[in-house]
Symmetry: none
């Protein structure tokens, strides 16, 4: 049929819209459920009357090297991302990992009964290695502004927030004037608390009229 080319060039050939839909569904299904869908679940999702409709698409996706499968085995997909090399070996003992939602520009409230729209992703951080300890309800915020550069927190960083009462010196996400900001929380005994920016060009200490601390920053995640 086709002459034997020395090596496959296109790692991911163009997909049709239908194939892309299927692929996306598979990925999201795995994301939501933690395991892969079965052929018939895909069929049901797309209202196919025959499992073979799915089979055809899966074969196409395989041919185009978008996915890999183990023949005959249930729910065993592998998504071929452009730079995903095949796995080799095994980690041994794992520590615990927490799973937290990544919020966008939230201005009010915890991600308690937050609308799904508020969440723009998820972040999972190793507890031991990120010094992360809270059990629940934590979330992450993307940093805007440069008011914390002296604490080595920069614009675009993601900060893991643990909802709890702050202690003196904690970096907190606080609600001021309807907006969430990241500042250091200062509270000396017998004095009212205030917030402090970690930037020498923001020398002013914020006096507080109405201070709502949303939580304490526990870790920073930055893309490179």
């Amino acid at each position: 049929m086709d002459t034997c080319s020395p090596k496959q060039v296109n790692t991911m050939k163009d997909l049709t819209t239908r194939q892309q839909e299927i692929l996306t569904f598979i990925e999201h299904y795995e994301w939501r459920n933690g395991y892969w869908p079965s052929i018939r679940e895909i069929q049901e999702k797309f209202n196919f009357k025959s499992t073979n409709a799915v089979m055809g698409h899966l074969r196409a996706l395989e041919r185009k090297e978008a996915i890999e499968r183990i023949p005959g085995q249930a729910r065993t997909f592998r998504i071929n991302r452009p730079d995903a090399p095949e796995m080799n070996e095994i980690p041994e003992d794992a520590t615990e990992v927490v799973d937290i939602p990544v919020m966008g520009d939230i201005a009010a409230g915890y991600p308690d009964r937050v609308e799904p729209a508020g969440e723009i992703g998820r972040l999972q951080v190793d507890i031991a290695n990120a010094g992360y300890s809270s059990r629940r309800r934590s979330f992450a915020l993307q940093v805007r502004g440069d008011s914390m550069v002296d604490a080595e927190i920069y614009e675009g960083d993601m900060v893991v927030i643990e909802p709890r009462d702050p202690y003196d010196g904690d970096i907190v996400a606080a609600l001021i004037d309807g907006e969430t900001t990241l500042k250091r929380y200062m509270k000396k005994s017998n004095e009212p608390p205030y917030l402090k920016a970690e930037n020498k060009f923001y020398p002013e200490l914020y006096p507080i009229n109405e201070l709502t601390v949303q939580g304490v920053a526990k870790a920073v995640v930055r893309s490179l």
Copy 2:
């Protein structure tokens, strides 16, 4: 039997060593393969002569709330990590999350055929939000030294490393003198590559005798 306590306290009751073994195998299997094992694969791993040996352990793990399962469905496990808050809502356009081992002070090689002892934890990073793209085989390193402070990477930070060839300007984990260091990779056309520390007090550019780049830094994670 037992009086109705108002609410379950222990989210994860103590596991027997055998149960822990099974649980660990399931987790590692998923990490290696991207999907969950079947009952019979677990059976085979532990040389059980009967699938029911596995069933007993799975029931125990479920009773102790270490795992969840969808009855009757193949390869659908859910691991209940202690601090994982119960998933409330499903993110819609969820981005993908990668699960990577956290290596300690590795001095040689990828986590390719690495000894299990090399791993000191796990780190899971959202791809889109951490700019992380490779699905597996990546790992994380804890930063020692201050040679990258001008790139805002500090001692104790964890750096996510993606094994691949570097481009000019990438921050890389490189193997020099049997030790892994974090430096910026510089490669002008028609010139040999060299490494550069991002610290003005380390002004020297490292000339390279034998340079092995282990991978490219994709993200930074720091505890607070």
